[in-house]
Amino acid sequence: MKFTKFLALVVSVFLLLAGCSNGSSSGPEKTEDGKIKISFINGFTGGDGAYMKKITKAFNASQDKYVVTELQEKDHYTKFKSGNYDLVVIHGNNLETYKQDGLIQDIGPVIEKAGIKESDFHQAGLDIAKLEGGMYAVPLDIHPLTMFYNKDLIAEAPKTYEDLKSLNTKLQAQSEDLYALGVPSSGLVEFYMLMIAAQNGVDLKDGEKLNFAQDKYADALMQFHDMVWEDKVSPPKLGLDGEFQTFMKEAKEGKAYQTAVALTGPWFYGAAKEKYADKLGVAPIPQIGSELASYGNAHTIALSAKVEDEKVKEGIAEYLKFMFTPENLINWADGGQAPVHLATLEKIEAEQEKYQIAYQNSKQFENYVSPPQVYQFGEQIRYMNETVFSKLVTTENFTKKDLMKELEKATKLAEQVAATAPKK
């Protein structure tokens, strides 16, 4: 009897709580004044976030039929998976995973409605957004590995590895604490490893998995070891984001190293500009491997698989149509990003001083190599990111044989991750 009463009480509380939750209703969600709501989630929590908000705010001000609610969250992927959002920003290297998990849908019909054509975008952007079976996102930007240089230490941007070596000799003659560039042991190392693969013509994609255990790739990677321990163009044992931290340091006799060049992420531009102002140079990365190629990640806008309502899709089409016009998307370049929308790129080129970083990075689109489209790219490359690269650049006596052993282990792990893909 007592148990029955307790049970009744607990059930009542559950029912009460269930009653508090939102019930599902038919048709799109609307605001009080009848505008159709569109939810958009992204991870723009850095300095660029305000610029995307500016675009959204301008769209909302121009609309009497739709309203876009933009949510900027650091961990937006988790929120997207567990929540109910119409549009989501997905990095280029994650797109295949989200497609295979059935979380996004072909956005082709929506962009057609918006009057946006594939030919409106740079090929580099299309290579990322077009997957087997259709267009799974609208390419927004590419943020490749970027070169910053200190004009006080170097007059012109180095273009080759030989340039970096001769710069290093010159700097070392000035002070033992001055180096050409820094090779970090963690942080942006994924960009470094994929960049050197691209610059040596190595294709890591092998069916559904990443195959790191390639002799040619081991040779390519060993160059980073040699940069630190043989050619000594980088100080040894730099930690997380070491390439940028060292670029921002002031050389102190025996106490702190400084570098003239940083191969780093464009998101550090604001901090670098604040420190160096006009003395900051920005340029495409030099050729370190056997051919010129650039690598980096990208932002794309994808459509949730949950969106079925045609009216919501029409609203999304309106939003994309508004965003992908040079006068609106230029805000994104103002935030330091390099859009892949061709008409916007023309505007950037016309004002290259104003959009310095966007312009310099757009020059890298011509030889850009996109991330391999495999399931769970980030997990497949995790061991390389967290262990192999660090061993490679921090262990003085690390040999190619040691590296091959590690590459085989990394490939085995990648294979196991690839095997977790949903059955087709």
């Binding site: 007592k2 009463k5 307790f6 009480l9 607990v10 509380v13 961990d75 992927y77 988790t78 998976k81 567990s82 989200y98 998990d101 059935g102 979380l103 042991s185 963690s186 100080p235 044992k237 730099l238 930690g239 997380l240 070491g242 931290q245 060292t246 340091k249 102190k252 025996g254 106490k255 702190a256 190293y257 769970q376 980030g378 997990e379 995790r382 061991y383 967290e386 262990t387 660090s390 061993k391 921090t394 792990l413 196991q416 991750v417 977790t420 949903p422």
Partner: protein
């Protein structure tokens, strides 16, 4: 007779309703926030549950088998995390208990007017968020021109800068120093309260017997605070097992995944690999390991008491 009357008085229906009403908030919250999540966790651990695609079916103990079978991805992830976490428990519990006891004894022996000041000073670090603490220690332990390296080089202790965050054992040392600085205040407060409870008359009697400071601690203080110390050890072991923020933000699990804690690896399984079933099974095994260690501690303490 009196007892019978009492029983009769409280046997009415209203008493039952009131009892149920009084106990129900606890029962409801206990069910909602403890029993239900635990039950759900166990249930999910028996399923092939993907964060993106949802429940893909009952797999019995298959997830547990994958975690405990050498050579699998999840075995490596779990064992590496467990090994790192156990290492941290071993190196962190003694200093976290002994230093906090030392500080509590120092404060206990201070003049009364200074006690609140020093108690606050040592406790205040505990109120800072792990994000802020990590940012401070990242700056202090920076290998290239960091504060500690500069100080050590200036006074001639080291010639070459130490790569605190990128090399072992320095990375663990950094995490340990950070954790001690950050959390020591909590244990210290518990010890201070325990020391306050010790009867002053016992110290006076010990003084009359001519006992020194060490003898007084061993014969008077320690027996009186032993139960609290045991509680503190258990709480510290649990807290050290839950290592996450410091390693996530200061070393990022490096160098070479050597500071990846078990919680970090469970998070990787769930949010990186989408394997909620595997992650739940890992969490359940972790809970069982913690229970075994705590039961062993109880047994040890009980045996010593006997």
């Amino acid at each position: 007779m009196f007892f019978r009357m009492e029983v009769k008085m409280y046997k009415g229906a209203s008493h039952k309703i009131w009892s149920i009403l009084m106990v129900s908030p606890f029962v409801v919250f206990f069910l909602l926030f403890w029993a239900l999540p635990l039950g759900l966790g166990v249930w999910i651990s028996l399923h092939n549950w993907n964060v993106s695609s949802g429940n893909l079916g009952f797999v019995s103990l298959e997830n547990y088998k994958s975690i405990l079978t050498p050579g699998t991805l999840y075995y490596d992830l779990f064992m590496k995390g467990l090994k790192n976490t156990l290492y941290f428990v071993v190196i962190s519990v003694p200093p976290l208990v002994l230093i906090s006891l030392g500080l509590a004894l120092v404060i206990d022996n201070l003049p009364k007017r200074f006690k609140p000041i020093y108690r606050t000073i040592f406790f205040i670090s505990y109120s800072i968020s792990v994000t802020a603490v990590s940012a401070i220690f990242l700056w202090l332990f920076n290998g290239n021109g960091g504060y500690f390296n500069n100080v050590l080089e200036s006074i001639g202790i080291i010639r070459e800068p130490i790569n605190w965050l990128g090399e072992q054992p320095y990375a663990w040392l950094t995490i340990l120093i950070t954790t001690v600085w950050w959390t020591i205040g909590f244990n210290m407060m518990l010890f201070i309260n325990a020391l306050d409870e010790v009867d002053v008359a016992l110290y006076e009697a010990a003084d009359l017997d001519g006992a020194g400071a060490f003898s007084k601690f061993i014969s008077v203080t320690w027996p009186q605070i032993r139960n609290v110390a045991f509680f503190i050890i258990i709480m510290t072991v649990i807290a050290s097992f839950n290592l996450y923020g410091q390693t996530k933000l200061i070393t990022g699990g490096g160098p070479e995944q050597s500071t990846n804690s078990l919680i970090m690896n469970i998070q990787t399984s769930v949010f990186g690999m989408n394997q909620l079933g595997i992650g739940s099974a890992m969490a359940i095994i972790m809970g069982l390991i913690m229970m075994v260690i705590i039961v062993f501690q109880y047994w040890l303490s009980y045996r010593n008491k006997e």
